[in-house]
């Protein structure tokens, strides 16, 4: 991780963020202590998890839940809480 961090000479001054839309490059997944685990057999693809996820970390393809973006999921557990079929459980990292 440390080799990816920039030195002070490479940073814009004043703590400014000068590239828009760069949140994707910040790996908030490293903050996680619990990870959501998807149980496909129980999933009814209601997409409540996708609606509630504050980090857009629920991956959906053709209207169907397909898993999680663990690079950005912070492990908040909202998806597991909202799931009406217990198709998501939180497991310790």
């Amino acid at each position: 991780m440390s080799e990816e961090l920039k030195g002070y000479r490479e940073l814009p001054i004043g703590g400014l963020i000068v590239e828009p839309g760069n949140a994707v490059t910040y790996r908030t997944g490293t903050w996680r202590t619990f990870r959501p685990v998807w149980h496909e057999d129980k999933c009814i693809h209601c997409l409540f998890c996708w609606v509630y996820c504050p980090d857009a970390a629920v991956q959906v393809k053709d209207g169907k839940m397909t898993g999680f973006d663990y690079e950005h999921c912070k492990g908040c557990g909202i998806c597991a809480h909202e799931c009406p079929r217990d198709a998501i459980t939180m497991e310790k990292e």
């Binding site: 920039k6 002070y8 814009p12 001054i13 004043g14 703590g15």
Partner: protein, 391 residues
Amino acid sequence: MAERMALTGNEAVAYAMMQINPDVVAAYPITPQTALMQKFADFVADGEVDTQFVLVESEHSAMSAVVGAAAAGARAMTATAANGLALMWEILYIAASTRLPIVMPVVNRALSAPINILCDHSDTMGARDSGWIQLFSENAQEAYDNTIQAVRIAEHRDVLTPVMVTLDGFIISHGLEVVEVLDKEAVQDFVGEYEPAYTLLDPEHPITFGPIDFSDYYMEHKRSQVDGIEAARRVIPEVGREFGKRFGRSYGMIEEHGTDGAEALLVALGSTAGSAKAVVDDMRERGLPVGLVKIRAFRPFPYEELREALGKAKAVAVMDRSISFGAQAGPLALEVRSALYGLSLPVRDYIYGLGGRNITLEEIEDILQEALEMAKTKEAEPLVKYVSVRE
């Protein structure tokens, strides 16, 4: 053509602000700065400036408004004093660390308690670690000149750091002096058109000001901030020389007066430096080897310049117009000793003039006489003395 006018220090700075014609000024009145903003408000009311003048409910709001304006790409200014500066505290750090080139005259006044509206330097000294550049003025002319130069210093691309220009409350702010006021066009030409390095109001280049930093980047941003104020060591004298070329009055980090061959040197800030010049001249006429080093830039502190100027003397007396409670000396003497690290030179601090206590020419001569004694004995004890305090 420049014009000679009878102005108070406050009026002189208000003239400088009018001639700079900042985009935004946000202010709240506080003695002894009130007359400064009142004069500037006259210029606004008379249509002499294009400034958006924002009257706010506190100094915290004044600095916050100026930070917002500067982030939006405006040339922004305010002015304050004492308790008003104290109320800005939180936002002073934000202005400096966000690298916003704000210029703020500070009319030096004592902090409460007991409540006191007269001059000392405890307000500015408390803000010495906030990241702002600090320029001290000896008189109304310097306050005027410094305010104009501060714009160029703050906005220099290598610096991009806010600047405080100080003037001693009442002594300079309310004293009437003959001041050479430049042509508005000449001032406009000197400060130039402001081109912000970054602005919130550029939809082609959307940016974020003031995001959160965790432990992985905060130190890098602080280290980067150091480079800005360090660059001012080069830029302050550069701008001061150019000002001298154009208008006849040159400025550096320090000013030496009678230092050639001096055995005892006095270090002072602000209006006291003017009184000390008269004392030095008088004592020199009597054959006494004394001199003065006036500090113009307190931040960044002129360590190298001082070491060179003071290193040739045998003793140094420092005059501090504030206390750093619990420290070994006042703020200025601490810095002077640090600049002289490794040299065996006796340095004594004289704390004086708190809450507007007058400092007389005789008292300054007494200090220099003691410094001459120090030059003989090499004995700096006591390290701190309090001038004219009753026991």
